[in-house]
């Protein structure tokens, strides 16, 4: 395999990552297998469920659809980067308090989609929340408590997502 692998460098949650990987290896697998960041989940492997959502250069992407060669030099953010030290990110706090996480398997991807939404639009309407999360499937909650979580996070005082 080494004959057809590339040396790829990118920034992951603010830290430098150097990996040796086949160019078409999915970013999802690089995160989970090479970097041990198992917070990002695989639900369908075809970009439908959003469980593997991460941010890449400020855009929300499905990491199961991105070959790692495209990640060279990129800025990647995953669920592991949301909390600072032991302090939960406001969205994590809101998901915990409002019941936005049940089985938890969609939660990391959902949190990344919600982070992305609030970063662009700190006070989204209900329609904007629905649209912003439409690429992330949750089978447990019926989405209601996830919407409530996003509303609660957006209402938290002094909360600036872009500053984090």
């Amino acid at each position: 395999m080494s004959a057809c692998s590339l040396h790829i460098r990118f920034t992951i949650n603010g830290q430098q990552a150097d990996v040796q990987a086949p160019p078409m290896k999915r970013l999802l697998d690089v995160l989970r297998d090479d970097l041990g960041l198992t917070g990002t989940k695989e639900g369908c492997g075809e970009g439908e469920c959003g469980s593997c959502s991460v941010r890449m250069n400020g855009e929300l992407i499905n990491s199961c659809l991105v070959p790692v060669l495209q990640v060279d030099g990129a800025l990647i953010e995953t669920v592991e980067g949301l909390a600072i030290d032991a302090e939960l990110h406001p969205l994590q706090k809101a998901f915990l308090e409002c019941g936005g996480a049940q089985c938890g398997i969609c939660t990391p991807g959902m949190l990344m989609a919600a982070t992305h939404l609030l970063a662009r639009n700190p006070q989204p309407s209900m329609d904007e929340i629905r649209e912003g999360l439409a690429g992330n499937l949750c089978r447990c909650t019926g989405f209601v408590k996830i919407f409530e979580s996003v509303v609660a996070a957006s209402a938290m005082k002094g909360f600036d997502l872009n500053a984090r």
Partner: protein, 769 residues
């Protein structure tokens, strides 16, 4: 340890009043790990030296296996290969019957049945290897529908008698149905069908297995019922109980889909682990999970009902047929629940129910939230709508006139001894949904709009816990252990898969011990550590297992007070100090409780008579829809739920159960269609098996009435399955209100609406497309 003020453990029997922890929105016990992405699911775990497993599956629905070819272009020496010949014990997965092979040996009875297992250190090489195993068959005629199975021309299961192809049948008679028809003002008939439904937990099935001759087999997995898997593995590996260990890890959704299937995948991984001499992980990808694992039973229910001129039910003749797939799995108990819920929450003096679960050459149907009830409640609640129309009274009124009340009896002659408040639930649901005004408004506006709007009701019940004698047979054991330190541990095999087991059982333990929520932990379900508190199914955890924990808590406090002078009122520090004294004097601080049936609960398995369930949860749901007569899509625009589930143990989690169940019910009604081609699911991707997204779910309003049930934990009854029962009929009733079309089959997709409306517009050339 919390520096709690002095509290005293509350004292039963009326322990539901004035609780401190129960009934409050405690945060999900494992919630912090989940929001941090730190919770470890099966695919996040590794074992030293672990290889990956994969499965070669049948490509035909029925046939004899002739030969298995291994393509020489693959270096098979790199792989570990397992067939049925490698099974050390019995080649079956033991659920209710022992008819399902662990690996097909001579014959396959459905598509995607496992035949050969492969393992390799590099999981990326497995798909090519799976494709390089070719199986030659002698095909046999396949039975692919209930109707085909009913002809009994091809016998695919059971004896060549009039019981051919029947996994289970029930016949139930109350009163004199035959005499009632002549007295009827109206006789209303209808046939209703429901499709298969995929659980679509976002985490697929997966396990890791390890095997050694010394310690036996250990399996870590995404699963609901550790002791079900334990029992299956004992048979497959011919091992004693102590040499089989099953550990549940964080589970990413289940909904019944991880009740029976984990026994299959755990056996497979175990067989590979034994032969390879190393740990094996098998995690299905989505396509394999969709194609090969269980689905909700498809059903067909026929109703023939005699009513008087006022719409009162005089006689109900009901015939239920379910498609069980190729093997028994849980079909008999699913059928039982379908049968017992088929009359709906109504009183009728004369009832005849005949129900049968049929074998077909499709993937075995299995447990799915509601367990037969959503199928039969869809039928009765659609049928009540037709009765209302036949009699000429309102949908709400026909239900009101026939509701069960205190003292009435069900089809099994169960007397309603607990309060039944259906009238109040209906009243509240109508008020909160603004039903009458909406109905009037839609009727006024629809003629002038291409969007037809409607509103529909479903009233229903769901029996809590195992059916009939089930809980007695389970004989569950659960308890509390206080090790050295300052935490109490709850010992149960009940599992968390999103629904809130960890949180509510912790709340119950804390409440009954007079401690705070943070003083209590829940032990990871591990069959070598926890007692068998039964499977995590059947809306039984809060009511049955919770009650055991409540009793165990009270029992422990009493013991500490009698033996080591724990005061009447105590702080957490004093409690743990008392535990230390007890441990020094007498050893382990443990309090275990075994299930005791509520008094006056009797069930006759032979006659199928008596108290079918110790308690029922009750609900009235109201759906609003918009049907677009240009695109033919139907959309749920608003949804009101009012339910009585006994005491609500955690309001946030309880509402979450209702909202999630309603969303899944909306999918069942309008989106989710399992499409089979020659018995194989060919839309086995999330791209074309469509579940509701954030944009498809309407506002869902949740209201609870609380009538504590004295034999459930702090008054709790079951809640988890109830919300899946009502949405589909409420939605199709609303669609009938909007369009006047009587749709009788779900899922109801835009193309179905299109075909019906085109037929109505009398353009037969388009209909034939």
């Amino acid at each position: 340890m919390s520096a709690s003020p002095k509290t005293r453990a509350d004292t039963p029997p009326d322990g539901h009043a004035g609780t401190r922890v129960v009934g409050t929105p405690q945060l999900r016990k494992e919630g912090v790990d989940k929001v941090l992405g730190r919770a470890k699911y099966i695919d996040d775990l590794e074992r030293e030296g672990m290889w990956h497993g994969a499965t070669v599956r049948s490509t035909i629905p029925r046939g004899r296996i002739l030969t298995i070819h291994f393509d020489p272009r693959i270096d098979w020496d790199e792989f570990v290969i397992v067939t049925a010949a490698d099974i050390p014990g019995k080649n079956h997965i033991h659920m209710i019957a022992a008819d399902q092979p662990c690996l097909a040996a001579d014959q396959v009875n459905h598509c995607d049945e496992a035949i050969v297992l492969l393992a390799h250190p590099d999981k990326r090489l497995l798909p090519e290897a799976v494709a390089a195993v070719r199986i030659d068959y002698e095909p046999l005629p396949a039975v692919l529908s209930i109707e085909q199975s009913e002809t009994q021309e091809e016998v695919i299961w059971g004896p060549h008698t009039d019981e051919a192809n029947i996994f289970k049948q029930f016949h139930l008679e109350k009163g004199d149905v035959n005499a009632a028809w002549a007295t009827a003002a109206h006789i209303v008939e209808g046939e209703y069908r429901t499709g298969a439904q995929e659980h679509l937990y976002i985490e697929n099935n997966g396990v890791i297995a390890e095997y050694s001759d010394d310690t036996g087999i250990t399996v870590w997995g995404s699963l609901q019922c550790p002791f079900y898997v334990h029992k299956s593995l004992m048979a497959v590996f011919e091992l004693p109980a102590e040499k089989v260990r099953v550990i549940q890890v964080e589970t990413g959704g289940a909904f019944g889909g991880k009740e029976d299937y984990p026994s299959v995948i755990a056996s497979h991984a175990g067989l590979l682990a034994k032969k390879a001499g190393r740990p094996i992980k098998i995690v299905y990808d989505r396509m394999e999970d969709l194609a090969a694992t269980t689905k909700r039973h498809p059903s067909r229910t026929r109703h023939r009902t005699a009513v008087d001129k006022d719409g009162k039910l005089l006689a109900m003749e009901i015939e239920v047929a379910t498609d069980g797939g190729a093997y028994t799995t849980l079909s008999s108990t699913v059928l039982s629940r379908a049968t017992l819920h088929s009359t709906g929450p109504y009183v009728c003096p004369n009832i005849r129910i005949t129900s049968r679960a049929w074998a077909t050459n499709t993937v075995p149907s299995g447990a799915f939230r509601g367990f037969g009830a959503p199928q039969s409640i869809f039928a009765i609640e659609r049928h009540m709508e037709q009765i209302a129309r036949a009699v000429g009274i309102d949908s709400a009124e026909v239900r009101r006139r026939n509701f069960l009340h205190d003292g009435d009896t069900t089809a099994t002659e169960q007397v309603m001894v607990e309060p039944v408040i259906l009238d109040a639930l209906l009243e509240r649901a109508l008020k909160e949904s603004n039903y009458a005004a909406k109905r009037e408004q839609f009727a006024r506006e629809n003629p002038h709009s291409a969007i037809k709007r409607g509103i529909g009701i479903a009233a229903f019940f769901h029996g809590s816990g195992f059916t009939g004698s089930g809980e007695r047979y389970l004989n569950s054991l659960a308890g509390i252990h206080v090790p050295q330190g300052d935490k109490v541990r709850v010992l149960v095999s009940s599992t968390e898969f999103g629904q809130g087991t960890n949180t509510i059982l912790t709340q119950i333990a804390a409440e009954s011990l007079g401690l705070s929520y943070d003083d209590v932990e829940i032990v990871q379900p591990d069959t070598s550590v926890v007692p068998n508190s039964g499977p995590t199914v059947a809306s039984r955890t809060s009511m049955v297992v919770g009650k055991l924990i409540e009793r165990a808590g009270h029992q422990l406090i009493k013991r500490l007070q009698e033996t080591v002078d724990l005061a009447e009122s105590y702080t957490a520090q004093e409690f743990f100090a008392a535990c230390d004294r007890y441990r020094d004097d007498r050893g382990t601080v443990e309090s275990m409780c075994r299930y005791e049936a509520p008094p006056n609960i009797f069930w006759d398995d032979q006659k199928y008579r008596g108290e079918a369930y110790p308690a029922f949860a009750w609900a009235v749901y109201v759906a609003e829809v918009a049907v677009d007569t240009i695109s033919y899509s139907a959309e749920v625009t608003n949804f009101h739920t009012v339910q009585e589930v006994g005491r609500v143990l955690n309001p946030v989690l309880a509402a979450g159960q209702i909202e999630g169940g309603v969303a899944q019910g909306i999918g069942y009604a309008l989106y989710e269609k399992v499409q089979l081609k020659n018995g194989h699911m060919f839309n086995n991707q999330m791209t074309n098996y469509i579940m509701p997204t954030a944009q498809d779910v309407p506002p869902i309003h949740v209201s609870f009435e609380e009538i504590p049930f004295s034999h459930g934990a702090y008054g709790a009854k079951g809640i988890g399955e109830l919300p899946h029962d009502g949405p589909a009929p409420a939605i199709l009733n609303a669609i009938q209100d909007a369009t006047s079309e009587n749709f009788t089959t779900i899922p109801l997709l835009p193309e179905d609406i299109f075909v019906r409306m085109m037929a109505r517009a009398q353009t037969p050339e388009i209909v034939s497309v």
